[in-house]
Amino acid sequence: MTVAAKSSSPPARKRPFWTMERRDSLAGYLFIAPQMIGITVFVLIPLGLVFWYSLHEWNVLAQTFRFQGLANYQTLLSDPGLPQVLAATGIFSVGLVIFNMSLALLLAVLLDQKLKGIAVYRTLFFSPVVVSLVAWTIVWGFLLQNNGGINALLATFGIEGPNWLRHPTTAMISVIVVQVFKNVGLNMVLFLAALQGVPRELYEAARVDGTPVFKQFTRITLPMISPTVLLTSIITIVGSLQVFAQIAVLTQGGPGMSTTVLVYYLYQQAFQFHKFGYGATLSILLFVIVAVLTFIQWQMRRKLVFYEN
């Protein structure tokens, strides 16, 4: 609140030095100061440090901190676990994005209809977003057990369900499904807002021309909401790379390493095996992947996205 006092009470005797512009600039700097200091201390400096750490052998248990150049990066390239980790990360991200985006779009189109009680459906589809993440994951873990609710439900139809979290394939599918139903409501709402922004005249014109409904969707709806599709896909992909709690609670990366995604591996190396130097190297890898993906998608914006103006 010291910021308030300084900027709201200009000096009583106006010295010529404090012109309107100068006072305004000072106010601007004071307004952004907390955020700038925060970004410097909690983002920029740590980013520099993570690079510095990655050049060291740093085992906390053995209390060693030795400069060793690029050795951690050589370890990274020859790490037998890494291909599996990258594969798991890739499968998770791709599966999540495809499933999430298509379900969000389907739900948004359904919820965009003029129907009675649609607001209730909207609320219910959105509700998992506000349920605590770990609580949601625990319930699914409970449901997905061998003798859990889902297999019990399947059994009433005479189907014997697999032990979902104990087989590599079904474990990965489970983690993706749990995550999608938790968060698809966010993308659904964004798509819904975009759908409601599409001018109705376009559909009316198409109907007069006798364009089939599906073609209306691909020729009008999709291009008109493409900025939102692009934005949500960026958010969803970057978000999928950060998945941690679901893995930690549901599978602990297993069975084997089938669900050990990059962030979980990073956590294990740094905070369970106390290899901070190698953990920092994995952080750099995560950073590079996120940066490259964001850059690619930003470039794609020009080719794929239709802007009204």
Binding site: G38, Y121, V139, Q242
Partner: protein, 280 residues
């Protein structure tokens, strides 16, 4: 696509929506109902969708096995502080970047935006070291300071900036003629008008803080300091097996309050999120 559907299509849409709804609603229902069933009924076959016998004793055990009330308070006060702090500092920064002309504003804004590009997980190792150096490990400071000032608040700053850019100039000019300083203009004119954007920021920030998991397990080590997500996974028996009924009772207590608030205020909630400047 907004057309009046034929009766047959209506039935189809309702049917499809109702089937799709199951995985969204059933887990929460199962969590709440299982938490009040006797342990023998939790794995009953065929499963009871609606509980027939009730046993509320697990709710007591939640508080016996862990300092759950303390953990609840930890999560609540951290989320409240983080939300209030983010609302204040992000709206200040967002306002300055949108409305005040000062040298290097664009460059500084680009630097802030770096925070959007860097997932918190990338910097968790050095942040751990920084807070270790400040003697703040196993305190709540990292869970408050980093979200309020660090990368997580950049999104809020961005949303607030987008909102303030759209405000008409005239609103402020009259106040300037009257001799109001920048902070007074911000506090008495711009901020009250920014309520929709602030609402969205508040919702996002609260949920983000309430759900944090990696950061608490990295920074906190004693149960009395734990936050809820971290505490939920600790209800295990002597062999590390999950005490399902206790865990589900604790999960219910964690999830239900926010869910109830959401259902009461869902209109503002959903619209707030939809209009948070994310429309591209």
């Amino acid at each position: 696509m907004k057309t009046d559907l034929s009766p047959r299509m209506k039935v189809l849409v309702y049917g499809l929506m109702s089937v799709l709804l199951i995985p969204f609603v059933f887990p929460t229902w199962w969590m709440v109902t299982s938490s009040v069933k006797p342990i023998s009924d939790i794995f009953a076959f065929p499963p009871d969708i609606v509980p027939t016998r009730f046993d509320f004793s697990t709710y007591g055990r939640v508080f016996e096995l862990q300092p759950f009330a303390q953990q609840y308070w930890n999560s609540a006060y951290i989320a409240a502080l983080v939300t209030a702090g983010t609302m204040l500092f992000s709206s200040m920064a967002g306002y300055a970047f949108a409305r005040i002309k000062f040298p290097f504003a664009n460059t500084l804004f680009m630097i802030v935006l770096i925070g959007l590009l860097i997932p918190a997980e990338v910097t968790i190792v050095p942040l751990f070291q920084i807070f270790l150096g400040w003697d703040m490990i196993n305190t709540h400071w990292p869970l408050i300071l980093v979200p309020v000032f660090g990368a997580p608040s950049v999104f809020a700053t961005f949303v607030m900036r987008q909102f303030f850019i759209a405000l008409p100039k005239e609103l402020e000019e009259a106040a300037r003629v009257d001799g109001l300083g920048r902070f007074r203009i911000f506090w008495t004119i711009a901020l009250p008008l920014a309520r929709p954007a602030l609402g969205a920021v508040a919702i996002f920030t609260f949920l983000h803080s309430w759900n944090l998991y990696l950061e608490p397990i990295v920074f906190l080590s004693s149960p009395a300091n734990f936050t809820l997500p971290q505490a939920l996974t600790q209800f295990t028996d002597a062999y590390g097996g999950a005490l399902w009924n206790v865990q589900l009772a604790a999960a219910t207590m964690t999830a239900l309050p926010v869910l109830i608030v959401f259902i009461i205020a869902q209109r503002q909630f959903v619209e707030g999120l939809a209009h948070s400047g994310l429309k591209g």
